[in-house]
């Protein structure tokens, strides 16, 4: 019987306004891969941030190898052999791999570059982690960056490794390679925690699963109890079945025609490179790709928030490449951005103000017709099942799903010809997800041309008429739904051009 290396007992942690962890207990056994499963906002990351000393729990205690520990900073957790790989990597882009790994070490006053590099390369070899130790972080791929993070923890002699959503930024093939590495590490005596909301990968790799729901433990599964239906029931209290299915639709004339579009990303580097595609009336074009491969830039270029450095964009035969955002919207474009609170809605304004932001300039005179606006919003709330206590309360108090429904209702109220949806269901529960997808299909039936950016390959294959894969800002290929297979999409996401496989 392997011993319990970590015991977290009755941990409670609150943030202003939210109870993130409510009386949560968790036991980690030596040499296991323990998955922490739950929807976004279930409290998984918070719990692990408490374990590594980044957050201070309000109550409850932590035992490492049977000893009560009181971590006040990550330094203490490192000393106890706990390392965490955060979802957003904590790497310093301006430093080399070696510098990142050795940062925080004690030792001689001056630094010898060569000695440092050899010692890091040796460690990387030992664990089969393939990285270029002298490269700058900004030069290496996301997969490599993740290996640097693992290396950092190993260098600090971590034997308990926590990975927060490790596969979110990886292609399916890279994820498999990661899992192999992790399995190797447990064979060498490490204990691994994986935080995830992806059922399939947890079923594939975990020895034990703790399911969190709304900050509480919903259940623990082991061995053969780890299967999709069991876990999904624990996670949301229901089996995940997306009932929405697309109808046959009549694909008509071209509404959006994008030709050789290039654009820079936030760092001023090439973010989009020669992207060309067209979307027809009543068609959904899905966009697949590992996060950060040009999806955000594509959405922003289309709606005019980012300038195209090259190429042209035609909206129902009208060249809108150089048009302002307003005139693009007026010619029938609607855009649901990936961060609904920030770009989409204004958190401190209420739902009425947010709804009229899109059309206030069509009101006559200086004053806003609040009577009309209020009744419009109340109608929309009823039509789209938006749950809110008071239309006059700030929208930041609403749940993600309701925010998204409000935002989508605002965008489709003006019957757009082209609808750009950027990660429309990110972080939503299953009910809201269904609603959003059915609204999307409804627009398709009305003849709208839809660009649907998502990270969920199953949903992409299910809803899109064609799927375009982005890698490094260029199009790896566009394939029809009938020909789309996850494995092939995965290869294309990794940069393989269509037909090369």
């Amino acid at each position: 019987m392997p011993q319990a290396v970590v015991q977290m007992k009755n941990i409670t942690k609150t943030f202003p306004g939210t109870l993130a962890n409510d009386d949560v207990s968790l036991t980690l056994k030596q040499g296991e891969i323990h998955a922490l499963l739950g929807e976004n906002g279930a409290g998984k990351s918070t719990l692990m941030n408490v374990l590594v000393g980044l957050y201070k729990q309000d109550s409850g205690e932590i035992l490492i190898n049977g000893e009560v520990k009181n971590f006040v900073s990550p330094k203490d957790a490192i000393a106890s052999g706990i390392g965490m790989i955060h979802q957003h990597f904590k790497l310093i882009n301006a430093f080399t791999v070696t510098e990142n790994v050795l940062l925080g070490d004690k030792g001689s006053l001056f630094i010898s570059k060569k000695k440092m590099q050899t010692s890091v390369a040796k460690l990387a070899n030992e664990f089969g982690l393939d990285v270029d130790v002298s490269a700058y972080i900004s030069q290496i791929s996301v997969g490599e960056q993740q290996r640097v993070e693992i290396l950092k923890s190993l260098h600090k002699n971590a034997n308990i490794l926590i990975l927060d959503e490790p596969t979110a930024v990886l292609t399916p093939q890279e994820a498999d390679a990661l899992f192999e590495t992790l399995r190797d590490m447990t064979n060498k005596g490490c204990t691994i925690v994986i935080i995830s909301h992806k059922l399939d990968e947890i079923v594939a790799i975990a020895d034990t699963v703790t399911v969190l729901q709304k900050g509480r433990v919903a259940g623990v599964a082991k061995g053969k109890d780890i299967n999709q239906s069991n876990l999904s029931r624990l996670m949301i209290g229901d089996d995940i079945v997306l009932n929405t299915t697309p109808q046959e639709s009549n694909i008509g004339k071209t509404l959006l025609d994008v030709k050789n579009v290039c654009a820079r990303n936030d760092k001023g580097l090439q973010g989009l490179c020669d992207v060309s595609f067209e979307i027809h009336e009543g068609e959904i074009l899905g966009v697949a790709g590992v996060a950060g491969n040009g999806q955000k830039e594509l959405g922003e270029v289309l709606c005019g928030l980012r300038t195209a450095t090259k190429g042209s964009i035609c909206l129902s035969d009208k060249d809108v490449t150089k048009c302002t955002v307003r005139s693009k919207l007026d010619s029938g474009l609607a855009y649901v951005p990936e961060d609904r609170l920030g770009t989409g809605l204004i958190g401190n304004m209420n739902s009425i103000d947010n709804s009229i932001l899109r059309s206030y300039y069509t009101h006559k005179g200086v004053f806003i017709d609040y009577k009309r606006a209020t009744s419009d919003v109340i109608d929309a709330i009823a039509e789209y099942d938006v749950l809110m206590a008071d239309p006059k309360a700030p929208v930041r108090l609403m749940s993600g799903g309701n925010m998204q429904k409000l935002l989508l209702s605002r965008e489709i109220a003006l019957s757009p010809k082209v609808l750009v949806l950027s990660y429309p269901v990110r972080g939503l529960d299953i009910g809201a997800m269904e609603k959003i997808y059915s609204l999307m299909l409804e627009q398709r039936e009305k003849g709208c041309a839809i660009l649907f950016i998502s990270e969920d390959l199953d949903a992409l294959i299910k809803f899109s008429d064609r799927i375009m894969v982005l890698h490094g800002g260029s199009v790896s290929g566009i394939i029809n739904r009938e020909d789309a297979k996850i494995e092939e999409l995965g290869l294309m996401m990794g940069g393989n051009k269509e037909g090369a496989s």
Binding site: L54, K75, I78, K90, L102, L103
Partner: protein, 315 residues
């Protein structure tokens, strides 16, 4: 006067004027490398200046005066660190407030000293042999101790930042405090230390101004040099060696204005007094906004500059 004397005098004054900027600039580089933007340089410099002057007038002791300026600057730095690191308030607002506070305090404390004869001054210490080199020797090697200190600080701070373990930590905190924190580096302590050091060096710059460079105390003695130092940090892309070149360049421009007037050249004096500030504005325009987006300056800027670190902030 022959041209040799004129050139020598000119160079000497340029180095002296540049030293004020250089001390403050190195201090600010160290502070900004830790991710703390300190716009209070003008205030810290003038507070250092007034304390150095008052201590000289009351005790006649120059060492005590220098110590007072270091302490006064460090205390101002401590206020800035407390407000921005511990209380996590806006670095911009705190810096501006400290400038206004510092200038007001110094003018108030110094009002009785305006026009008084200074009891003691920092004397030039000629370095044997080197100071006998024609023109350059006089300008570089026959200066006060603070000039030599400032020149020595250039390689010392460069090595500290780029070649030592402490420097690696400093840069890590400035680039990405949450990474540094997750590796057990104390972000708060690091930011406190370098904000204090920056304040102390700026105070020292003030001391050089009031007990070395100028012959007596006057209201608003710093006259915007703290601001020029802030701009110089950007101009130098956070590199102490370039900071030295920049400081002497700006020192030259400041002196040029004064000297041309003395020679009675018929160019409106306001044009020359404006020159360094126009230069400052040009530097700032090219380092920020549209021009700066892809520039070297943006790449060299510490990643977290201007942002207080909050460990429990949720993203």
């Amino acid at each position: 006067m022959g041209w040799v004397e004129v050139t020598t005098g000119f160079l000497s004054a340029t180095i002296a004027m540049g030293t004020v900027l250089l001390l403050a600039c190195i201090g600010e580089i160290l502070t900004e490398k830790s991710g703390v933007l300190n716009l209070g340089l003008e205030g810290m410099m003038i507070v250092g200046a007034v304390f150095a002057f008052i201590v000289v007038q009351t005790t006649g002791n120059l060492v005590l005066a220098i110590a007072a300026s270091l302490l006064a600057g460090a205390l101002m730095g401590l206020i800035h660190a407390f407000i921005t690191v511990t209380l996590k308030a806006s670095q911009v607002v705190s810096g501006l407030a400290l400038t206004i506070f510092g200038v007001g305090l110094a003018n108030f404390l110094g009002q009785n000293y305006v026009g008084t004869v200074r009891v003691a001054s920092l004397q030039a210490i000629p370095i044997p042999l080197l100071s006998e080199i024609p023109i350059i020797g006089e300008a570089l090697f026959n200066q006060s101790i603070l000039v030599y200190v400032s020149i020595l600080l250039v390689p010392i701070s460069w090595i500290l930042i780029y070649r030592t373990r402490a420097g690696l930590k400093l840069r890590a905190v400035g680039e990405n405090p949450s990474s540094a924190d997750s590796l057990g580096i104390n972000v708060f302590a690091t930011r406190y230390i370098y904000t204090l050091i920056g304040g102390a060096l700026t105070g020292l710059a003030g001391a050089y101004l009031s007990i070395g460079f100028n012959s007596s105390w006057m209201d608003s003695i710093t006259g915007g040099q703290g601001w020029i130092a802030v701009a110089l940090v950007i101009f130098a892309t956070w590199n102490p060696i370039k900071a030295m070149l920049g400081s002497y360049l700006f020192g030259f421009i400041l002196i040029l204005g004064l000297r041309l007037q003395a020679f009675g050249i018929e160019i409106p004096e306001m044009l020359f007094t404006m020159l360094p500030y126009i230069f400052t504005i040009v530097v700032l325009i090219f380092s920020t906004g549209k021009f700066g987006k892809n520039s070297k300056i943006k790449q060299r800027e510490p990643g977290s500059l201007g942002t207080p670190y909050d460990r429990e902030a949720r993203h």
